[in-house]
């Protein structure tokens, strides 16, 4: 069993394939440092998000975009520091799979929103009255 494990380590060190979640330089202190750094940035981004949501310093309509940007940044931080997904050649398959997943997620969310907005518009009464906000009968 230890043979298998050292073989895995060997793959990682020699730039073979890596599994998602594998710390590439599997040393303890380096790993610890990665997680602390990741945590620090994530805390910073979280606080920033909560602050942005309440502040009046930012131009109102831009707040949603700022929040979305912070969220994307934070997801990236989680991927890199906690899930150890990188762009190294040994990570190609992991990243390609992620890219495919992200593509589908985007298609599902934004495709649905786009389609449903248009459908709701078509459902509006012909007089041009706004559709009832409640969506009730």
């Amino acid at each position: 069993m230890t043979d298998h494990h050292s073989e895995d380590i060997a793959h990682r060190v020699e730039g073979g394939d890596v599994a998602p979640g594998d710390v590439i330089h599997g040393e303890f202190t380096a790993g610890w440092r990665t997680y602390v750094l990741g945590l620090a940035i994530a805390i910073g981004l979280t606080i920033a998000s909560f602050w942005v949501a309440q502040t009046h310093l930012i131009y109102g309509p831009a707040i949603d975009m700022a929040l979305a940007t912070l969220a994307v940044a934070q997801m990236g931080i989680h991927l890199i520091f906690f899930l150890h997904i990188t762009t190294g050649p040994d990570n190609t398959n992991n990243v390609l799979a992620l890219a495919f997943g992200i593509l589908v997620v985007f298609l599902v969310i934004f495709g649905s929103i786009w389609i449903m907005i248009h459908m709701n518009q078509s459902m509006m009464p012909p007089t041009g009255m706004p559709a009832p906000q409640s969506g009730g009968m």
Partner: protein, 668 residues
Amino acid sequence: MKLLGKLDWSAIPFDQPIPLAAGALVIVVILGVVALIFAKGWAPYIWNEWICSVDHKRIGVMYCSLAMVMLVRGFIDALMMRTQQSVAFHSGGYLPPEHYDQIFSAHGTIMIFFVAMPFVIGLMNFVVPLQLGVRDVAFPTLNSVALWLTAAGVLLVNMSLVVGEFSRVGWLPYPPLSELTYSPGVGVDYYCWALEISGIGTLAGGINLVTTILKMRAPGLSYTRMPIFCWTALASNLMIIAAFPVLTATLAMLLLDRYLGFHFFTNTMGGNQMMFMNLIWIWGHPEVYILVLPAFGVYSEVVSTFSGKPLFGYRSMIVATMAICIISFLVWLHHFFTMGPGGDVNGVFGIASMIIAVPTGVKIFNWLFTMYGGTVRFRVPMLWSIAFMITFVIGGMTGVMLAIPPADFILHNNLFLVAHFHNVIIPGVLFAAFAGYVYWFPKAFGFKLDEGWGKAAFWFWVIGFYLAFMPLYVMGLEGMPRRMQSYDVPQWQPWAHVATVGALSIMCGIACMVIQLVVSIRNREQLRDDYGDPWDGRTLEWITPSPPPEFNFAVMPNVTGEEAYWGLKEAAREQQRITRPVPEYEDLEMPRNSPTGFVCAFFAVMMGFALIWHIWWLLVLGFIGAYATLVVFAWRDLHERIIPKEEVARIDLENRARRNLALQEGRV
């Protein structure tokens, strides 16, 4: 609280002779088979070697067998619909509306989820590891779990025949009709839970095969050397991974509406039923390609093998496959053009739908050019492939017609549409399944299927197909809506008669296939495939003996070019003996068989049944049982058993000897 929830004697349809008799017949047959198994003392063999098996080949065979049994069930539904429409002019026919509605719902559900899916998954399971030159899939026990969860879904659907009722709202449960207000019975619940359970199995299988293809290939088998069937399997399983979770989520929302009074798709309180159409087709359109891409892979293998040529345009085939894999996620709206998303949205999706015909066209040309200049052998798999090419082009072109939104406004929801999707899915998936069945049967069982009965089945099927579905185009153009239990337009009836004759011809085709199987088993010694390469194949599965040993390959093949096996065979033919040196055999570790899959599925059925009938204590029991099963499996200490190298050497040397003999006799 009642101990059995909603379940009581009124659930058994004593007043409806047809389902009751059919259900009774099925139960008698199952009991008969079980009794036979025990009487003959086969039970331990069946349990240990099949039900608990984690061997990808056996799991593949079981998937395909499941699909073939369900094909008969789904076909009987089809025959009932066709005869009903034949006689239902100005009359109620012989099927009451609520029964007719269950039949067309069950027909669609069964044919897609429990015939096409398991057949295609079964073929991939059997073939892919062999073509990749590896010993099993990435997660063998998960594979078994996936199989048995699919079987659990099948069981629930068939249970609805006798206990309660099946869904009456079509193969996709569109709300608000499928909401509790309008479908208060258990039919929709049967449908949803059967699909939720089998959907988990499908997802598990998809993860398994993608991991296998991307991470477990024989040395040297780089991406541009993989057989095209593996490429199509990769694309198909990637789509399973990306699409099936949406189905799971959508049906879960419908179930929450039905069970807990949520408002996803209700008419009132802010629900939005259009969202259901949107979500279900985000899954539904990729599903079409999940089925058809592996089928294209089968045709590629068959056409190449029986033309005696490498596949024309191998790389363009890969590009076309992966293009379809992506574009198929961009066309879902063409299933609801008429629901009012408006001109610009319809335009975008209409154009995307037409674009997806391009890579498909590329494939058709590639197959044609593969045949061109080749030495074509018109064996049964090749016949299916040629019938596919002709028929599928017709279906594809009517599909492009339907992709034009204005035309779709006239043709949607009538028999033209029904004719179209049968015209793509029957040649596109079912013919491929049959071609693959005949093509890989000798690999699985060691003997070929009878050629004469196979050809008879082919002709009955193809002629039956044209007779059954071409009239539907005409009826559609004459304005007949789909799913009509009775009608009063005299022009439709003659065409309905023709379609019924077609269905009867297909019935003869199915009968021929049954006879073919029986005859072939009886004549298996004459049909024996003694050295493992009955069709003069080109990919790695044909290097193994038929049937392959449990470990597939005694030593992992080292791939040095495209068509890994063909190169070796050429060299061997020249020297009239196997040119590979006898390898150093080693002890092999193979995964141990496990009842985990079967037991999990047992508890899944228990939970599904409990949920359908609101028997809450049984649900808790089922959950605890399933969890306990997983823990027991996780606590297992020995995952593998060793096949000693002597055993490996004996099997492999015997195979080499047989092949050498065949080479010397010039039979290879």
